[in-house]
């Protein structure tokens, strides 16, 4: 968790262009008074609070692409209009002020799951960010939705590469490139080894 907080502080302060934060335990299921789902403390929300305490990153946009809903994060930021929280989920939802969104994937057995997933994000999240004008963008990146992992959604490497491109572009357009990628769920060593380096490479190319 300390690495996530420090990554967010240093990117928000302009000391780093962007960052990738590995984790020791998950964060997005942890609420104010609860923990579980392999999450202890809400790393991203603590990072936001710490940055704000320093006068950095008043407005933060979060995209959660872990296979499971970021319920702890949503509970914590629910009443905070300066946090845009978009979660790719099984059902669609929009809060009254539009800053809390669940993006539903239109799964089609005949379609490419990677394309279906990206189609749920690409038309929506960039536009939300352009309107929201965040100081910092956070991508909560779980790879548990990859084929063969515990949240299997049939996704493959192309989906995660596509998300990395999209998030780098969104951050460049809406937040001066300030992007922090926070590792979320996913259990397999072979997938971590295959999927994480290209994302860090994309960050390095964008820096």
């Amino acid at each position: 968790m300390g690495g996530v907080v420090e990554a967010m502080r240093r990117v928000a302060a302009g000391e780093l262009a962007n960052a990738f934060a590995f984790i020791g335990a998950g964060g997005h299921h942890a609420g104010r008074r609860s923990f579980g789902g392999y999450c202890c403390f809400n790393d991203v929300c603590i990072g936001i609070a710490a940055a704000r305490r320093l006068g950095l990153a008043a407005r933060v946009a979060i995209l959660d692409t872990d296979a499971h809903h970021g319920d702890g994060t949503r509970e914590i930021v629910e009443d905070d209009p300066a946090i845009l929280h978009a979660c790719v989920c099984g059902t669609a939802y929009a809060s009254r002020d539009g800053t809390k969104r669940d993006l539903a994937v239109a799964w089609d057995a005949a379609a490419d799951p990677d394309a279906a997933y990206l189609a749920a994000v690409r038309p929506v999240f960039p536009a939300l960010c352009r309107a929201f004008q965040p100081d910092l963008v956070v991508w909560y990146f779980g790879f548990d939705g990859h084929r063969g992992d515990y949240g299997d959604m049939g996704l493959g490497p192309a989906c995660f590469r596509g998300l990395a491109d999209l998030m780098a572009e969104v951050a460049a357009e809406a937040a001066g490139g300030r992007l922090v990628v926070v590792l979320g769920g996913g259990s397999r060593t072979d997938l971590a080894t295959a999927l994480i380096p290209p994302i860090i490479a994309r960050l390095a190319d964008a820096a």
């Binding site: 690495g3 590995f22 984790i23 335990a25 392999y38 403390f41 397999r188 994480i196 390095a204």
Partner: protein, 70 residues
């Protein structure tokens, strides 16, 4: 060109994420070619203080997490 920070701690590769102990067993070796780039910086993740946790969480959550057998 700016700098990309990579925040990591060796303990993550010994026991990372509570579902599976060693999903990050190949790191940081798997990103050595990237760390060779002059603008990619490996940073050791610091331990977070209880004060930071209390910015968001109820203070009672800290001993609950510490007492969890996982």
């Amino acid at each position: 060109m700016g700098t990309t920070g990579v925040f990591y701690h060796p303990s993550f590769s010994r026991r990372s994420y509570l579902t599976v102990g060693r999903r990050l067993a190949d790191f940081p070796g798997a990103i050595e070619p990237l760390l060779a780039r002059s603008h990619v910086l490996l940073c050791e993740s610091p331990r977070a203080s209880d004060d930071l946790i209390r910015l968001v969480h109820d203070p009672g959550l800290i001993p609950e997490v510490e007492a969890d057998p996982l």
